[in-house]
């Protein structure tokens, strides 16, 4: 145990520290509860979105394989080369319980293009390639919707873990240590008081003789 000098001053300081630590624990517990509540509210949305994404991805993969199977690599690659494009999205930062959470903004951007928008002639490219293109564009739409929710959830998870660690550190280490130090000081002070009393009684006794 850390050596502390058993003074009344230290006793008061340690008592104040215990009070502060307990207040901290209370606050952190409240923060953790709020974060957990937020976590469970989002996790349901994310699970549903993921399920939807998995379904879309499955369809997209299947349609790509079918296009590859019927049209072959050459036709598919040639059509894909024409469909390349740059896409601009906005990312904002939101502060929640001290957490920095990125938010993807794609208002006004629909990744799903029209038949005209993919840069190839409809005569030269089959409808299967359109289908694969459509499905993958839908994946992009869903991915960007999911991305900020997933990052939000990940950050919340990390913060919950961090807060729990702090609560545990305060509850299991700091508060017991401060309590034992307070007890030690209190004992030492009481012992000193008893010694003083004994010494005074002893002096009084020897003076009367």
């Amino acid at each position: 145990m850390e050596q502390v000098s058993p003074t009344r001053m230290n006793l008061l300081a340690k008592k104040a520290q215990i009070k502060l630590a307990k207040q901290g624990v209370d606050l952190l517990k409240k923060k953790r509860d709020a974060l957990v509540k937020e976590f469970f509210a989002i996790v349901q949305i994310l699970l549903e979105a993921r399920k939807k994404l998995e379904k879309t991805a499955g369809n997209a993969y299947r349609s790509l394989m079918i296009a590859k199977g019927i049209d072959g690599d050459q036709a598919l690659n040639s059509a894909a080369a024409a469909g390349k494009r740059d896409v601009k999205i906005g990312i904002d930062r939101k502060i929640l319980w001290g957490l920095e959470i990125p938010e993807v903004h794609k208002e006004g951007i629909n990744f799903r293009r029209e038949l005209l928008g993919r840069g190839y002639s409809i005569t030269g490219v089959s409808a299967r390639v359109d289908m694969a293109g459509e499905n993958f564009e839908e994946i992009l739409n869903q991915l960007l919707d999911i991305a900020s929710v997933e990052v939000h959830l990940k950050r919340l998870g990390q913060e919950i873990k961090k807060t729990s660690r702090r609560v545990n550190a305060l509850e299991q280490t700091l508060v017991p240590r401060l309590t034992s130090q307070t007890r030690f000081i209190k004992n030492a002070l009481e012992e000193r008081a008893r010694e003083d009393t004994f010494r005074l009684k002893h002096i009084k006794k020897s003076g009367s003789k």
Binding site: I66, G69, D73, A82, G119, T123, A127
Partner: protein, 346 residues
């Protein structure tokens, strides 16, 4: 069904050997029953070994043990068949019509790659009348010397298209210009072949493309302008008729086609499309219709028709094998694969 009367089919004694050889080779073509057997195999490896029993593929499969190498096998088989049919044909014009599609594909790829500043090699087809390198020399290095194998009219059409593309920055329009040039050239080439069977096949192909374009435009709610731009002339259905019917949607298309040989097929195809909201059935029906037309070549004993039909039959066979292999490698559902398997010639 568009039928060609017996008197309109060729009878050219120069094809006696070629037709005899093709008749013998036709016995190696994969049949619909064999496709069902391949479909029943448990995985891609089993399908691969089953395919090894076919005499056409056994030599290729001896070099490639892994089903993942299917593209190399299918491409070399197609290359072999092109070389064989062009080699034994007394007159190359009709068969070159099929190879020219690959030439135009290469031109389109090279032009697109130059425009986007990308590499072309992996997307070029070796099945054209000229090696892709020669096309690159013509289109990129702008060389003409030494490219004597290219017919003058083909070189001219490529030069004309390149001229049109100078100011065209829209990739889609560039592609459309190439496609229009391809079918314009193919129609001229089919005329040159003086073969009614070949000319009719091309018309059927163009009709199929136009009808699918029509349905795709309706699905995407595109304006009439796009349809006008994408339709190809020289099919049996006039482009103007399709443009006029466009406002009426799919019902008008069905009534427009009711007096044509496509009536039954389009009705079935549109019913499928409305039910599944997918083009796969419609596309399959067109391919099957084309195959049914090609099967008339069986009645020709002296002429280019059996060679032409054999080459297209082989293309369909390879398409079917590719569907099966891709499906098996990626563990697609058996019904999902079988829905897309085309009717075969054999």
């Amino acid at each position: 069904m568009i039928n060609i009367s017996y008197s309109d089919l060729s009878s050219d004694p120069r094809y006696a050997f070629a037709v005899g050889k093709i008749r013998a080779l036709e016995t190696n073509l994969i049949t619909n029953q064999q496709v069902n057997r391949l479909l029943e195999t448990k995985d891609a490896n089993a399908l691969w070994s089953e395919l090894g029993n076919n005499r056409d593929y056994e030599a290729h499969l001896a070099q490639f043990y892994d089903p993942q190498d299917f593209e190399a096998v299918l491409s070399s088989e197609l290359k072999r068949v092109y070389a064989l049919t062009l080699g034994i044909s007394a007159e190359r014009t009709a068969l070159e019509l099929l190879a020219l599609r690959h030439d135009f594909h290469n031109c389109k790829v090279i032009s697109k790659a130059c425009f986007l500043g990308e590499d072309t090699d992996s997307n070029l087809s070796p099945l054209g009348t000229c090696p892709p390198k020669e096309w690159e020399q013509l289109m990129v290095a702008e060389k003409e010397a030494g490219l004597c194998r290219l017919p003058a009219d083909l070189m001219q059409i490529v030069r004309d298209v390149q001229q049109q593309l100078i100011d065209e920055q829209n990739l889609r329009r560039r592609d459309i210009i190439w496609d229009q040039a391809l079918y314009q050239y193919l129609s001229r080439h089919a005329e040159k072949s003086k073969n009614l069977f070949v000319q009719t096949w091309l018309k059927i192909r163009i009709d199929g493309l136009n009808l699918l374009t029509y349905v795709r435009c309706i699905r995407q709610k595109s304006d009439k302008g796009l349809l006008k731009l994408a339709l190809i002339d020289s099919g049996t259905i006039a482009c103007e008729k399709l443009q006029n019917a466009y406002e009426g949607g799919l019902e008008t298309l069905a009534s427009l086609l009711s007096p044509t040989p496509y009536a039954g097929m389009i009705q079935e195809g549109l019913a499928c499309y409305k039910r599944d909201n997918s083009f796969s059935c419609l596309e399959k029906l067109f391919d099957d219709y084309e195959m049914e037309f090609l099967s008339q070549a069986r009645y020709v004993s002296l002429g280019v028709e059996p060679l032409f039909a054999y080459l297209l039959a082989k293309e369909t066979e390879i398409k079917v094998l590719r569907i099966l292999l891709v499906g098996k490698i990626n563990r697609l559902d058996k019904t999902e694969i079988s829905k897309r398997v085309r009717r075969l010639y054999a």
